[in-house]
Subunit: 447 residues, 2 copies
């Protein structure tokens, strides 16, 4: 790959277009797209025009929006129509969503009327809904067709469809009656009737359903495509597995960003401007900073106790960090388990009981290690050492409790559990651990 | 679904097996499996025996290992053979990996010799390698076949293959020459020769490659199946898209666990024992606790300065938390971008420059908010307020720098970047922020 890469760049530099074309037509479209995105504007347009028509649109789809925009601006009207003709509806929608309004008008003018209708339909669905990620190009069959008829229809329609491996059987009102896979068709006798071999217990999703549910269904049922129906159960489109994989990755990224107290964006890191990045991070930092002032208040109110035993101060960071880490471990585990469907609201008491035992053992073992360190390395008094270790055990138990229950409760009241991750848990646990620390110290050291 | 669920449970309670059977055969196998896993042992076995043979093995595959074990123990030898005959090789391997040794022997004795050979072959590949997740059941064609021959072969072999939608063209030494999709075959003329329509620029993966790369290739190239070849480029198996989706989810979970300082397990939360959970969490907590003692040492060495200005102590948690949160935001963003391939080692300077600007604006805006709070709510002296705000800006810049560079450097030296997330960054940033704090305070307050 590296070798081809350098060779292509050299051919472009030397303007050896014929040789370049020979190499490109042997390459994979995704790899060509990645290579083109490293060229400057003029070279992209020149190199792009070397591609045969069927490859060109594939390469186009795999490029980032800013390069697509660049190409569209360079296209003649005929070239634009040619590329648009080859696109699948869902890819066209993805592209249009990223283009400036003037370009969208030009694009829509050059798509054929039927496709324009489909594009407009999909654009109407709310962001991240099943409707917004579906394609309207699928093979539909009638229940009274024979397998032979079905193959004729697939051969006639198939070339423009994103998948022909799952075919959808509808009635005259477009209501979804069943599905039949290409495998079923291939393994059946040519004279069999579709209604005899179709699966009528169809898994489908409504247009307004969240894309997260769509992704879950692909994973649960091992699907290649999922039919999308409107409120009257009419088939309006399908989601294919390649788009479901993108959703799975996007949702995982979104969860990770929320866990790190960032407002999710769906753009790659290097494509987001500094100001936009600031906007995704600053509000959370501010909120957490304000919350952290409670911790400061707690320290202030124990200032005299601290002044009497200043050594206590030096263990504050260690206790706070350990509490935060323990809470973070519990919350991330629970958030992910919730989103994978491994645990549900009804499991909350099992979760609490399990986390209590884990916390107890973590607390005991960490406190024991810490006690040895305090006695033999720090050489502090046994009373202070016991205060630190007892605080540690209690903090860990509370941190695991807070970290495991808050995500479940957040989900219960309709919030995204991912927000209840380390940063929030840390802020809450900080305050609690200090309260525990000073109260234990007050009771045991009489300060 | 809820309704069916209650109805099924009632029918089982009342021992109405005939009615139950009628309902089950209309249901989806995945849903039946989930329902069965809520029953007690005797009822599972009874209900399972109601299922028609082809559904039974599907339901079996979708159950958790402990229920599969329970069923296998209840099966007669004939029943066991029947279920095993229907399984795909990769599902059989997944199951065997979870079974105790005595049961594995019984299972292998009751599989037919060819499947046993395949199972043993797959079991030999290292965990999380492409070889370990592949299946050996695929449709292979010869390059001199016609499309008609290919269909005959698919019809004869297809029923036992996990996918028939991508067919693999091999020579007599099993070397992979090309792929042809069922769509290509359906849209081609019956008399065409396979070598004329096959795609020869085949994307494949080696048996020992990491499963993470397999998942990336599915996402990048929108594949339905990926061929797996040995060191001599001979085709030994394929990975199908449903297994790739599982890998994508597992890898995301693994990254999240590492980010939260947990050793990853591949089992669902509620299936892991308390001791095992402790084992995944304790070592990291201990390591982080020991690292956090440096922070304590820093505070100790500035004890006299703190005693002179005890108000400084109360801002320690806020500064540490803000630093930790800023570092965590940067590190999670970078870790995820690295694993999605959005950034690479060569982007490190672009990343640093971007994070520097984001940090500068975050620092400035947060410090400004904080300054107002310090002056009007806390009513502290302007000198101390300036110390806190200046420390905040410097800490944020350092935190973002550490948080964004460490994951990239970790990857560079062959470590998993996900380990360089919030907990580690927090521990490092804590120490740095305190050093900055006390030095700024020393310089500005002359203590």
């Amino acid at each position: 790959m590296e070798l081809i890469h350098d060779e292509v760049l050299e051919l472009i530099q030397n303007r050896q277009w014929a040789e370049l074309k020979n190499i490109l037509i042997e390459m994979n479209e995704q790899d060509i797209a990645e290579l083109f995105m490293e060229l400057d504007e003029r070279d992209i347009t020149l190199a792009y025009r070397l591609l045969p028509k069927d490859m060109a649109s594939e390469v186009f789809v795999n490029m980032d929006p800013e390069y697509q925009e660049m190409l569209i601006r360079a296209f003649s009207d005929t070239e634009l129509s040619e590329v648009l003709d080859e696109l699948y509806v869902d890819d066209a929608v993805d592209m249009i969503e990223e283009m400036p309004a003037t370009l969208v008008r030009r694009i829509l003018t050059h798509t054929d009327p039927e496709m324009r209708k489909s594009i407009n339909e999909i654009l109407r669905y709310p962001e991240d809904s099943a409707g917004s990620i579906m394609t309207t190009e699928f093979v539909d069959l009638k229940s009274d067709m024979t397998v032979k008829d079905a193959f004729t229809r697939i051969r006639r329609q198939g070339v423009d469809k994103e998948t022909i491996y799952t075919c959808y059987v509808t009635d005259n009102t477009r209501k979804l009656l069943g599905v039949v896979t290409a495998k079923d068709l291939l393994l059946s006798d040519q004279s069999e009737i579709i209604s005899e071999i179709m699966e009528t217990n169809v898994i489908s999703v409504s247009t307004i359903e969240d894309q997260e549910l769509v992704a879950e269904m692909f994973q649960k049922y091992d699907l290649l495509a999922l039919p999308v129906v409107d409120t009257e159960k009419r088939l309006v489109g399908i989601v294919t597995v390649d788009d479901a994989i993108d959703v799975i990755q996007d949702e995982a990224t979104e969860d990770m960003e929320k866990m790190a107290a960032i407002t999710p964006t769906d753009k790659p890191y290097l494509k987001v401007s500094v100001f936009e990045t600031w906007k995704t991070r600053f509000p959370w930092l501010l909120l957490l900073m304000v919350s952290a002032t409670f911790t400061g208040k707690i320290i202030q109110s124990f200032e005299s106790a601290l002044a009497a035993q200043i050594v206590l101060t030096s263990y504050i960071p260690m206790l706070m960090d350990t509490g935060g880490n323990c809470g973070g471990q519990a919350s991330v585990t629970i958030i992910r388990s919730l989103s994978l469907g491994d645990i549900e609201m009804k499991d909350i008491f099992r979760v609490i009981w399990k986390e209590f035992r884990v916390a107890f053992f973590c607390g005991l073992t960490l406190a024991a290690c810490n006690f040895l360190k305090l006695m033999f390395f720090d050489k502090i008094g046994i009373a202070v050492a016991l205060v630190v270790c007892l605080t540690m055990i209690l903090t860990i138990i509370i941190a695991k409790f807070v970290g495991s229950t808050l995500p479940i409760l957040a989900k219960r009241i309709g919030f995204d559990p991912a927000v209840m991750a380390s940063p929030f848990i840390t802020t809450i646990v900080d305050a609690i651990s200090l309260l525990v620390y000073f109260n234990v110290a007050g009771a045991m050291l009489h300060i």
